[in-house]
Symmetry: C2
Subunit: 128 residues, 2 copies
DNA sequence: TAATTTGTCAAGTGACAACTAAAGTATACA
DNA sequence: TGTATACTTTAGTTGTCACTTGACAAATTA
């Protein structure tokens, strides 16, 4: 249900990496996000260039909304959709975290190699 | 650089967002990445804490490797897996691109609102 | 009021993704 | 040599996902 924005007692936007990355893994959904990053748009206008039924587009929008990538609001009979930054921030943060973890490890290895006094029983043979 | 102990014809790592985000959308694969960001590891060692068969883990690793998130190398009978940064960079870049696009648009709107001389037939009513 | 536009909901279909089991291959070890 | 280890490969099962159809509802327009 795309309920709420009107009566919204419960938003169920679960910012978990499963949902966000799964949402981003679909080309149609990414196309929607690219369109929306140029400005808010109604559902039917979003659907125009997409070669599928309106119902399918609505389903994609539900996925995008439930993981915090899109925010919608219904006024009259028109539902307006726009980018929501929360999902993007969340995904970017997850990636950044792993990257810094890995790169910090590479840095530590670099230091070890620079002062080769201690013998490390294992851990950097793989560097070749 | 050690490369491809696998004899095979060049691996096909297609750095496309479909593959990368789909790969990141699975909890098991993210668990593998988290393990690997602490250091390289063999397939069977990676499989130990995961409650599934070794074959399943290998399939996940194939997915991760084909999209540039993991790099592997076989020596003897042991395949060693490690993080590859390419996939991470690619995903991070895609997200960053959309974010800046959207935020730049918000900035332009801010400027428009600051000097309210021109009449824009539509475009910022949604700001509420 | 009647017709049109814009979206919503439910059920069904086909494809694909994740997983398993089981048999096979190559390397290391006793 | 024989056995264990560390994958690899194939085929099959099961569930989920993207999409459609078709009926419906509410807001707008004629």
């Amino acid at each position: 249900m795309l309920e709420n924005a009107d009566s919204g007692p419960m938003e169920k936007k679960k910012l978990n990496p499963d949902r966000v990355f799964h949402a981003l893994g679909d080309p149609t959904r990414r196309a929607i996000l690219e369109r929306l990053s140029e400005g808010p748009m109604s559902v039917s206008r979003l659907a125009e260039p997409l070669e599928m039924t309106l119902a399918a587009v609505v389903q994609h929008l539900q996925v995008l909304e439930e993981c915090g990538l899109v925010q919608t609001e219904k006024l009259g009979r028109v539902r307006t959709c726009r980018i929501e930054s929360a999902g993007f921030s969340f995904a970017a943060q997850w990636i950044a975290d792993r990257r810094t973890l890995w790169e910090r490890r590479l840095d530590r290895l670099g230091e070890l190699l620079a002062e080769p006094e201690e013998d490390s029983p294992s851990g950097y043979e793989w560097l070749g």
